[in-house]
């Protein structure tokens, strides 16, 4: 009895090395190599400065202030986002209501909006002359509240999709059984559902934390020059002041902070992981019953309306508000190439964005799936011999490596590309493939994070049983894991796609002027004076929202044919 699983695990170890080769090569070439090169240039390059520079930089009160602000605003944003979005995750996972699919796509829209555009919408609500100002004389711009609220706006979907994805697949009968045995509704939730959700909540919290820790546009636009995160400082030092040694020192500080967070996360999650009984999401949602559920649904819808739909509505209204009254003049202007801002009509950006997004999604899915499979196969915990410590360390290393791109400044990666990918065989500086590659770097962590909780929740005994019956590791993955993970894969694809559509920081470096993406085109239009340019920027932002929502709806429709009812 004992030899078969051990044998399977040995074969699994070899399979894992093979699986890991792809992701490791990808991240090595397109992430680690460029980042290390630019940091090295900063520390040892031209000026002859020393690596001791890190201590000099850390010693500056300004830098310490920035570091402190970066950390606490990220913690506060993460807590606030979880607080606001967890009820939303429940509602989307467990309750059925009309328009749910469309609404799920719509709440993801903020995630892809360029921060310049979302910033505009928020200023219209929270800023001078905004809605709050008119109603109660309250102004929140240039306060930390505006930053926190905007962070919730952008990251709401991260929690709803990551946590909701798993929640929908938890068997509700377990909670029901607990209640049957006398537990109160809250106790049943706390003792049964919450522990099961733990890894997904932690994964969502980690991503929100990393996103807000490296927040850039939101802090600049809503916080004003009085607030600065590490990411903003790195951008200033690299792109504007061109003090690469300070930038390198700050990058290392950011790196260390992100590494610390990842380590803490890995420890806490490791303790909580458990095999779960997963069921088809189609059977877990039902129409709300009782005042509590109706109240929760109403509360979540009201939150979404106020926090997400209202800002989006402001943008749509602006795009229609022409000097000659409400109309589509700005949209018509998008189809002509005059004005010289672009070499092509701005509307062409839709095609570019979609092409890049498809390529980036494909790359992220392939790399991410390989990595996720490598990270779960075989499960070190089910191996009773205890001989997997080195393999376990390898797994943890890969796990952390995959998350790092979320914690590293786009400007660092972009400048790194410039000095590393410039010689054959990797002379990619002016190749279109660089855009989806850079976008996939940010997409892969989402794929991995969305798939891992589900993959790890798969009962290891199923795999062992398959192995005992003579299935190869590949076949075990195919027949046991894949059917369970398909749904997570679709959600992951949605994320990767959305990330690619909305990615701006790295794309703006690389996108060629005759092939702008939607966010890049919006930013260029906003950079010029005149009503027509501003109106077109708003119209193009609206187009971006629609493209994103439609793409996500189509993607989520691509589900296995056998589960034809329910939410997916």
């Amino acid at each position: 009895m004992k030899s078969a699983p051990a044998d399977a695990s040995r074969r699994g170890g070899a399979a894992r090395l093979v699986l890991m080769a792809g992701p490791v090569a990808f991240f090595g070439v397109f992430f680690a190599y460029p980042v290390v090169a630019i940091v090295r240039r900063g520390l040892y390059g031209d000026g002859g400065r020393r690596a001791g520079r890190i201590l000099d930089v850390l010693g500056q009160p300004d830098v310490r202030h920035v570091l402190w602000f970066t950390v606490w605003q990220a913690l506060a944003s993460t807590a606030l986002t979880l607080l606001v979005a967890l009820p939303g995750a429940y509602v989307f996972a467990r309750l059925d209501f009309p328009g749910k699919q469309v609404l799920r796509a719509v709440v993801t829209v903020p995630f892809v909006l360029p921060t310049v555009v979302a910033g505009t919408a928020f200023l219209a609500l929270l800023g001078q002359g905004g809605l709050l100002d008119q109603l109660w004389g309250v102004r929140l711009d240039t306060t930390v509240w505006a930053i926190l609220i905007a962070h919730v706006f952008f990251n709401y979907a991260v929690v709803v999709r990551t946590v909701g994805g798993l929640w929908a697949q938890l068997d509700p009968r377990q909670e029901e059984a607990a209640r049957m045995l006398g537990a109160s509704r809250f106790a049943a939730w706390r003792k049964v559902t919450l522990p099961a959700l733990g890894p997904a909540v932690a994964a969502a919290a980690l991503m929100v934390f990393l996103f807000t820790f490296t927040s850039f546009g939101v802090v600049q636009i809503l916080g004003g020059p009085g607030y600065s995160t590490l990411e903003v400082e790195i951008y200033r030092q690299t792109a504007q002041i061109f003090d690469l040694s300070t930038a390198a020192a700050l990058t290392i500080v950011q790196f260390a902070a992100v590494g610390l967070i990842l380590a803490v996360h890995a420890r806490t999650v490791r303790r909580r992981e458990s095999a779960l009984r997963l069921v088809d999401a189609a059977h877990t949602a039902r129409r709300p019953r009782g005042a509590g559920q109706w109240g929760l649904l109403a509360g979540v819808l009201a939150t979404i309306g106020l926090l997400l739909l209202l800002p989006l509505g402001v943008l749509v209204a602006r795009s229609l508000d022409t000097p000659g009254g409400y109309g589509f003049a700005y949209y018509r202007a998008l189809t002509s190439a005059d004005g010289g801002t672009f070499l092509v009509p701005p509307i062409d950006a839709i095609g570019n964005s979609l092409r890049y997004a498809f390529a980036a999604t494909a790359i992220a899915l392939v790399i991410g799936s390989l990595a996720a499979a490598a990270l779960t196969l075989p499960r070190p915990r089910t191996d009773s011999t205890g001989g997997t410590t080195s393999a376990g360390r390898l797994v943890r290393g890969l796990d952390a490596l995959l998350m790092l791109p979320l914690g590293v400044s786009a400007v660092t990666v972009g400048f790194g590309f410039l000095i590393t990918l410039d010689k054959p065989p990797l002379d990619l500086r002016s190749s279109w493939i660089l855009v989806p590659l850079a976008q996939a770097l940010v997409g892969v962590p989402f794929v991995v994070r969305t798939m891992l909780p589900v993959l790890r929740a798969v009962d290891g005994r199923l795999r062992e049983a398959a192995a005992v019956l003579g299935a190869s590791p590949l076949r075990v993955w195919r027949e046991v894991d894949l059917p369970m993970v398909r749904r997570a894969m679709l959600i992951a694809a949605g994320f990767a796609f959305a990330v690619s559509l909305g990615e701006f920081g790295a794309t703006v470096f690389i996108a060629r002027p005759d092939r702008p993406t939607l966010p890049v085109a919006v930013a260029r239009l906003l950079g010029r004076a005149g009503d027509l340019n501003y109106g077109q920027a708003m119209a193009l932002s609206t187009v971006l929202m629609i493209v994103c929502a439609v793409a996500l709806l189509v993607l989520e429709r691509l589900r296995p044919a056998k589960a034809s009812t329910g939410e997916f």
Binding site: G129, P225, G339, L482, R524, A529, Y534
Partner: protein
């Protein structure tokens, strides 16, 4: 048994899909490898190359017809690479100076010129048509490493309607901006991240001297100057005179922008108004000159040179104003009537030598930040 075979069937399909996806990924990766190989060999044929690559900032713009004319007469195909805003584009050029991304660079201005020249970014070339350029623009006249292409001014703009409604004379000078009448009216940009923000700071330093500008900014701060991070926010959100700012509820009738903002504002409003809603305080201006140069290590030096000649032709010089909203530098060029109709002439902008800017900018921006942002 039937159950098992069922599972097998569906998973076979999925397996095929994954295999296809993986294959696609590999194809994409290998395709990028081969395409790069192609471009590498394309640029390797050096002097005979028929493509000239322009590296510039995001604001680069030219009429289609004018560029096609150049391609037709010169025989070169022009490839354009926009590399972020002006500062970013220069910094990237410096970073890649050992293996430049293109042949010719356009868009280094007088505030960044010393940084570019100190780093040996350009190869000297005396452009045809330079005789038409007045000496005040030729900041590298001795060595011709760069060629002046356009000029403009960074100035305080005002909302004409606001000042008419309030029966207030708009400010005309740096000193005016500290007067109580204009309290809480001005919005400017962060000098450490924004080029108009920096230009306005340099203008005040030129006006009040190396040791006088600090007390000027203390007075401005006491008079309620607002600082935002970039031009987009200042002009499109805070300024009450632009149509975007109006919609955004902007309440500041004074903004640091460009002398060419009034024509841009008017021309990009449909239907076009008789006069621009935006005015210029002509005593608050700082001159900006943009240069082009042949990149050191360029693959197509001949093409780069002929492109710089093209930038000084009458055709291109007259095309610039409506595309990039800058003024020509050659004396034989006259801007189009659409532009001059709304144009505000700035007779005596403040100026400062690139050397002096390079020597002081970091210190000045630092002390500016501690005065204004703290």
């Amino acid at each position: 048994m039937s159950n098992v075979s069922n599972v097998k069937n569906t998973s076979k399909k999925t397996y095929a899909a994954v295999a296809v996806a993986t294959g696609l990924g590999m194809v994409a990766l290998s395709a990028c490898g081969s395409s790069s190989g192609g471009s590498g060999s394309g640029s390797a044929d050096g002097g005979g190359s028929k493509t000239v690559t322009l590296v510039s900032h995001d604001s680069w713009a030219v009429s289609d017809k004018v560029l096609k004319d150049f391609e037709k007469t010169s025989g070169y195909k022009v490839r354009v690479l926009k590399d972020g805003d002006a500062g970013e584009a220069v910094n990237k050029a410096i970073l890649t100076k050992d293996n430049p991304q293109g042949d010719v660079f356009f868009g280094v201005d007088n505030t960044l010129l010393s940084r570019a020249l100190d780093n040996g970014l350009f190869t000297p070339y005396r452009a045809k048509g330079l005789d038409q350029v007045p000496a005040r623009y030729q900041l590298d006249a001795a060595k011709h490493r760069v060629t002046p292409i356009d000029s403009g001014s960074i100035c305080v703009n005002y909302d004409k309607k606001y000042f008419a409604d309030h029966k207030l004379t708009p400010p005309t000078s740096f000193a005016d901006l500290t007067k109580p009448a204009y309290k809480n009216l001005l919005v400017t940009e962060n000098a450490s991240t924004s080029s108009p923000g920096l230009g306005f700071l340099l203008g005040s330093a030129a006006q009040y001297g190396d040791n006088g500008w600090q007390s000027y900014w203390k007075k401005l701060k006491a008079n309620g100057v607002k600082v935002v991070d970039g031009w987009e926010q200042a002009y499109n959100k805070e300024f009450s005179g632009s149509s975007a700012g109006k919609k955004a509820g902007g309440r500041r009738p004074l903004v640091v922008s460009y002398a060419s903002s009034p024509p841009a504002e008017a021309i990009y409003t449909k239907p076009e108004p008789e006069t621009s809603p935006v005015g210029v305080s002509t005593g608050t201006c700082f001159r900006q000159i943009e240069f082009a140069g042949v990149l050191h290590g360029a693959k197509n030096v001949k093409g780069a040179k002929s492109f710089i000649d093209f930038l000084l032709t009458k055709e291109f010089q007259q095309d610039m104003p409506l595309n990039m909203f800058v003024d020509p530098v050659t004396e034989n060029a006259t801007p189009p009537a659409d532009y001059t109709k709304y144009e505000v002439k700035v007779a005596h902008p403040e100026t400062m030598s690139p050397r002096k800017i390079a020597d002081n900018r970091d210190d000045w921006v630092k002390s500016w930040s501690s005065i204004v942002l703290k």
